[in-house]
Amino acid sequence: MRLLNRSAGRLSRHRRGPIAGLVVLLLGLLMTGGLYAVFAPAQANSTASQDELAKEGRQLFLVGCAFCHGQNGEGVLTQDGQQYGPALTDVGAAAVDFQVGTGRMPMAVPGAQVPRKEVVYSEDEIAALAAYVASLGTGPSIPDADMYDPDTLSSEEYDDYVTRGGQIFLANCTACHNFEGSGGAMPRGGYAPRIRGVDPKKIYEAMLTGPQSMDTFSDGNIPPDDKKAVIAYLDRINEQPSYGGFTLGSLGPVSEGLIAWLVGIGALVGFAVWIAAQTTRTSGKKDGADA
């Protein structure tokens, strides 16, 4: 029983001892610090001015994005008037940071839904692209860490945010993304992606900008603080132990039914075969009656 990891199972932050808190803080720094280093908002600590950054971004844009989105981000239409690449004039920096930062853009193959994939651009390049697109018009900018990062909350605040965020999550998000963020099906081959374990900043940006078919949850729709609450809830359910054993993908009754048949009924039928099987006989001859 010494093997038990007691601290990891603790539910409530304000119940943790001071050392546990320190450990969590260090772990959090180690785990998320790396990510933040990668996706750090350029405007926060970059020495280059916004104009220079935007200029840099324009060069990258012309090479990597302009083919679909137009020379000046005005969008491209096909001959029959269908949209080939949407206009980027008012999407804002947050949309660029989300789309490019999750690898969805640049798109590999045109299709109904662009999947998440390997990120192509470096963090500096993404910052430059974002600065350029932001300079084209209006649109949400990249959020600061204190807007989305649940680690910036005190332990009492955290509990309140988790509870509030859970209710907002269940009212607005679970319909598409499932009760644990496992994702779900949408019409005509579309899908709501899995959002479990996704970087909080990207979740915030997704709510803000409504990537692809997703609705937007602008600040007038779900206020920034409530967005943070949703992220805190996701953080919490991601962090808490799986109280009842393995989760079977958290997909609901379909996977549970499969396990009941494959493991439950399967094992029991296996035992039944063993129980009724003929025991070995001294003659070594198989009983023909069972053929």
Binding site: L11, G166, F179, G183, A260
Partner: protein
């Protein structure tokens, strides 16, 4: 290769080697207790009706019903534990328990106590999950047991009543499962109850009233959980218990069916005795079922209600599905086209009535009717205690294949959203496909299963008449190659021939048939014609077992061939051929 054919005679007496012949002290003590009890209760008399040495034939497929029985016992045990903590009340409370993401949220006491069982009662979550896993296994085991009974013809006279009881058990088990699924009052179960409310409202004429009366007013009301609770822990379990008892009494009364084999006839039953072997095996199996359920309950999360949160009619989650046994009507509900009619100021919702109010009862009625339809077509009035292999009743097997295919496809349709995301398909395309598949699939399955069975029958006939394939290729002097066949053992041959010869019923030449109605009446005539057609479908293409003459002839032929083969082997380079005539 088989060993020598001579059967060894038993070298030992009927007791195990070193067992003492004199009664041990414990045996004596047991005898004293038995005498004490018999002096007061006359128990020995009761064993005249059911001997302690009653025979139960051994076969794995005879234990499938036991899985259902034992999981029901597990359900009773774990269920009693849960009732000690569960509070079936819809009074709203503010949750102040251990699971802090929900602390401060308004919820029903039912849901709060489900959380308490999961988080504050040690082993409570295990018991909840075991109860739920056992329920899923209970219904699954009943279904495979039903399929076994059907496919082997064990439902035939005199067991039709037990077949009906079994079908009712399946219905009650499903009802019990659905009421239990609804009790925790979480978001998923509440969504299920809401759908059930929709089903009720779709019932013509009385639907709205049914809904208002069941829910104690407008949905969701504050009555449904307590009402489902009494149904779940009292009414349905009581009925289940009574029917299971009747089911088992009939099994004892009829004695178990058995597979045909040497020494086994319609008039006897061969196998180990109830005491001790069958008792030990059945008792041991109880522990195994219990153990597997405990393992599942401990290792796999089932219905994590804390993540769904309390029921709220404005919330929903992707992947809202019922438990698996309700999956097939849910699948039909998903693929039914938008059929709704509006007549004289009333709405008839075919899009709900067909999948939920018509199909499941219809399916149950089809199941119940199957033995009687078959008996009518065959006109068979005899008792049957020897089982049939599924291949020897091709049309019956094909009917079950069609039903299972229909069930399976409807079931898959109930998981169309999960299939769509896991296999990267369009949910719309899956739905269109399923609309056609639930109709065409069973027809295709029927044809394939029937042809397959008949091919297997041919294969059996081949084995009987021409022996089995030895894998020995012999080159004849004129350069041709042929695989040599050897006759199968007498036992195996007997097993293959231990079945009835079937005759196609012909309405014209039915004068000597016991099942035909008296002449006269158009209805009787049509019925006879229909019976003739069905009988043709059932039997006309089947391969009947060879007659004694055919067997004799083929044996003669085989002996000749064998002789020739040995001759060739002796002459050729292969000197390690078969040495026995098996």
């Amino acid at each position: 290769m088989s060993a020598d054919n001579g059967r060894k005679t038993s070298k030992v007496a009927s007791t195990n080697g070193t067992e003492p012949a004199t009664p041990s002290r414990s045996t004596k003590a047991a005898g004293a207790v038995a005498n004490w009890a018999d002096d007061r209760l006359g128990l020995a008399k009761a064993t005249k009706g059911m001997s302690l040495r009653k025979v139960f034939p051994d076969h794995w497929s005879f234990m499938l019903g036991e899985i259902a029985l034992w999981s029901f016992v597990v359900l009773l045990l774990t269920g009693v534990f849960l009732t000690l903590f569960f509070d079936p009340s819809m009074t709203e409370v503010r949750y102040e328990g251990s699971y802090d993401p929900l602390r401060g949220v308004e919820m029903s006491r039912a849901f709060a106590s489900a959380l308490e069982i999961s988080f504050d009662v040690r082993g409570g979550l295990l018991m909840r999950q075991m109860h739920h896993w056992a329920a899923m296994i209970f219904i699954g085991a009943m279904m495979i047991h039903l399929m076994r009974v059907f496919l082997t013809g064990a439902f035939r006279k005199p067991r039709e009543v037990n077949w009906i009881i079994g079908c009712l058990l399946l219905l009650l088990g499903t009802l019990e499962g659905f009421t239990g699924y609804s009790l925790p009052d979480d978001l998923l179960s509440g969504t299920g109850v809401r759908a059930a409310d929709g089903f009720m409202k779709a019932s013509p004429v009385v639907g709205t009233y049914m809904s208002f009366f069941l829910f104690g007013g407008e949905f969701p009301g504050d009555q449904i959980i307590p009402r489902l609770y009494s149904i779940h822990i009292l009414l349905v379990p009581g009925l289940l218990l009574a029917l299971i008892t009747a089911h088992l009494i009939l099994v004892v009364y009829h004695k178990h069916t058995q597979w045909p084999g040497p020494g086994k006839t319609e008039a006897n039953v061969v196998g180990p005795p109830l005491m001790p072997i069958y008792m030990a095996k059945a008792g041991g199996f109880f522990f195994i079922v219990f153990g597997i359920v405990a393992m599942l309950g401990g290792l796999f999360t089932l219905n994590p209600v804390w993540k769904f949160g309390p029921y709220d009619p404005s919330k929903v989650t992707a992947g809202s599905q019922p438990d698996w046994y309700m999956g097939w009507p849910d699948g039909l509900l998903r693929i039914i086209p938008a059929w709704e009619t509006h007549l004289w100021g009333h709405t008839v919702s075919w899009n709900i009535m067909i999948p939920i109010l018509i199909m499941p009862p219809l399916m149950l009625m089809v199941l119940i009717a199957l033995p009687f339809v078959e008996a009518w077509v065959t006109g068979d009035k005899r008792e049957h205690h020897l089982l049939q292999r599924p291949r020897n009743a091709p049309t019956r097997t094909a009917v079950m294949a069609a039903l299972v295919t229909f069930y399976g496809l409807s079931w898959a349709a109930g998981g169309n959203d999960i299939i769509a995301i896991k296999m990267h398909l369009s949910i719309n395309e899956i739905t269109y496909f399923m609309r056609a598949a639930v109709i065409l699939g069973p027809i295709i399955a029927f044809i394939i299963a029937r042809r397959w069975c008949i091919s297997l029958q041919r294969h059996d006939e081949g084995k009987l008449l021409h022996g089995y394939e030895t894998g020995v290729i012999v080159r004849s002097p004129d350069g041709g190659y042929a695989e040599k066949h050897l006759p199968i053992s007498e036992t195996a041959a007997y097993v293959l021939t231990a079945r009835d010869r079937e005759e196609v019923y012909s309405p014209d030449a039915a004068s000597d048939d016991a099942g035909v109605a008296a002449p006269g009446g158009r209805v009787a005539e049509v019925a006879a014609k229909m019976r003739g057609r069905l009988s043709t479908l059932m039997f006309a293409d089947n391969v009947q077992k060879p007659t004694a003459e055919e067997m004799h002839e083929s044996q003669h032929h085989a002996e000749h061939e064998l002789h020739e083969l040995e001759h060739q082997i002796a002459a050729g380079p292969n000197k390690h051929g078969p040495t026995s005539d098996h």
